[in-house]
C-alpha cells in the first residue's frame, strides 16, 4: 500500500478512485504518564513517553485507514492528511489523531 500526500503517483496511472478512507485514535489522560511528564518539565529533557504515545496513536489511525482502503480494493492512498487536535481533558492532554485520504487503484 502506497501512502502519499501528493495528488498523483509518479510514473503510475490512477485507474480508479475507490473512495474516502479515514482513521481516528485518541490519546487519553494517564496519571503515570502525566506525572512522568511533570518531572520532565521540572528537570528538562524530552518527554519520550508522550512521543511514544503519539506515535502509537498515529499508527493506529494509519492502520485503520489502510485496512479500509484494502477492503475497498485499493492499492494506494493519495492526498493523505494527518492532524493532531487537542480535545482538552483533565490536563489538556486528550489528543485526537486523525488520518484520511483518497483510496485509489493504480497500475
Amino acid at each position: 500500500m502506497i501512502l502519499t500526500s501528493s495528488n498523483t503517483l509518479e510514473n503510475k496511472t490512477v485507474i480508479e478512485y475507490k473512495g474516502l478512507v479515514t482513521g481516528e485514535s485518541l490519546i487519553g489522560s494517564n496519571i503515570y504518564k502525566d506525572l512522568f511528564s511533570g518531572v520532565r518539565d521540572v528537570v528538562g529533557g524530552r518527554t519520550s513517553r508522550y512521543e511514544e504515545e503519539i506515535q502509537k496513536a498515529r499508527d493506529i489511525s494509519l492502520n485503520s485507514m489502510i485496512e479500509k482502503a484494502e477492503n475497498l480494493g485499493a492499492n494506494a492512498i493519495i492526498g493523505l492528511k494527518i492532524s493532531y487536535d487537542n480535545l482538552g481533558g483533565t490536563m489538556g492532554n486528550t489528543i485526537l489523531v486523525t488520518a484520511y485520504g483518497t483510496a485509489i487503484k493504480y497500475e
Binding site: 475507490k18 473512495g19 485518541l26 477492503n71 492526498g79 486528550t94 486523525t98 483518497t102
Partner: protein, 284 residues
C-alpha cells in the same frame, strides 16, 4: 427559647422585668470578666458573644423558675446593644466590621429573637440567594445560546453522545461503506487529473457534539472510547450532510476535502467537526 403569645399579668410583668435585669446583670459581669482577663482572638473580645449568651441563658432559667415560661431572652439583646456601644463607640478598639463581627451579631440576635432571625436567615436570605444563583445561571445559558446561534448551527440529527452502548455498536467497516456508497466522490487531493470536472462551489458543513463535562471519570478508558465513537459518528454525519448539500446543487464530488476537529464554546464545552472543500461535477 420560645416567645409566648400569652398576656402576662402585672405581677408576672414585674417578675419578667426582674428576670431581664438579673440576666442583663449576669451578662455584664461575664463581659467584665472577659475584658478583665483579655480573652481575645486577634483583638476581638469573645465576651461580645458569650456575655449576651450568658445573659439570655440566665434570664431563661430564672424566667422558667419564677414565671414558669420563657420570656424571649431580652437581656441578650440588651447585652448586645451594651457591648456593641461599649466596644465600638466608647472604647473604640481595633474591632471593625468583618465576617466575625457580622456572624456574632447574627448569633446574638438569633438568641434574642429566634423565630424572626431563623425566618430571615432561612426564608429571606435563602430565597434571595437562590434567586440570585438562578438569575446568574439564566444569563449564562442566554449568553451560551446567543454565542452558539451566532456562529454555528446546532446539529438536529440523532444524539450520538448519550448512548453507552454506542461503543459496542460502532462499526468501522459499516461506516466506511456508508460514506462510499453515497454515489459521491470524496477526494482529498486538489485535482483529478484523469477526470474532467466542473466547479460547483465551496462547501462546508459542521457538526457539534456535546463534550462530557465530568472532571472525575470513574472509567477513563471507557469514557475516552465513548468520546472517540461520538467523534467518528459525528464525522460520518458531517460528510453525509456535505455530500447531500453538493448533490442538491448538481454536484457529484468534492475536491481538496479537509476535516478539522476543534473545541468550541465557553470553557470548550463542545467539539466541532468541520468538513469543507470544493464541490464539483465530474463528467463521465
Amino acid at each position: 427559647m420560645e416567645l409566648s403569645n400569652k398576656e402576662l399579668t402585672k405581677s408576672e410583668k414585674r417578675k419578667a422585668v426582674l428576670c431581664i435585669s438579673l440576666g442583663t446583670g449576669i451578662g455584664l459581669i461575664v463581659y467584665g470578666l472577659f475584658l478583665y482577663f483579655h480573652i481575645d482572638i486577634y483583638g476581638w473580645n469573645l465576651g461580645l458573644i458569650f456575655a449576651p449568651l450568658a445573659a439570655g441563658y440566665a434570664e431563661t432559667i430564672l424566667a422558667n423558675k419564677i414565671i414558669g415560661e420563657d420570656i424571649g431572652a431580652i437581656s441578650a439583646f440588651i447585652l448586645f446593644i451594651d457591648t456593641v456601644i461599649y466596644s465600638f463607640i466608647l472604647k473604640n478598639p481595633t474591632l471593625g466590621w468583618n465576617l466575625i463581627t457580622f456572624g456574632s451579631i447574627i448569633v446574638i440576635l438569633q438568641a434574642a429573637f429566634p423565630t424572626l432571625i431563623n425566618y430571615i436567615l432561612l426564608v429571606v436570605v435563602g430565597g434571595i440567594l437562590s434567586n440570585f444563583i438562578k438569575t446568574i445561571k439564566d444569563y449564562e445559558n442566554k449568553i451560551k445560546s446567543i454565542y452558539k446561534k451566532q456562529q454555528y448551527v446546532k446539529w438536529d440529527g440523532p444524539d450520538v453522545i448519550e448512548d453507552d452502548e454506542l461503543i459496542l455498536v460502532y462499526d468501522e467497516e459499516e461506516s466506511n461503506r456508508k460514506i462510499n456508497d453515497l454515489d459521491f466522490y470524496f477526494i482529498t487531493s486538489t485535482d483529478m487529473k484523469t477526470r474532467k470536472h466542473e466547479i460547483v462551489g465551496i462547501y462546508q458543513t459542521e457538526v457539534i457534539l456535546d463534550k462530557d463535562r465530568r472532571i472525575i471519570k470513574l472509567e477513563p478508558e471507557k469514557a475516552e472510547q465513548k468520546v472517540l465513537s461520538n467523534i467518528k459518528e459525528g464525522k460520518d454525519e458531517c460528510l453525509i450532510r456535505l455530500a447531500e448539500k453538493i448533490k442538491k446543487d448538481g454536484g457529484n464530488g468534492i475536491l481538496n476535502l479537509s476535516m478539522t476537529y476543534n473545541l468550541i464554546g465557553i470553557g470548550g464545552d463542545n467539539i466541532q467537526i468541520t468538513a469543507r472543500g470544493m464541490g464539483i461535477y465530474l463528467q463521465n
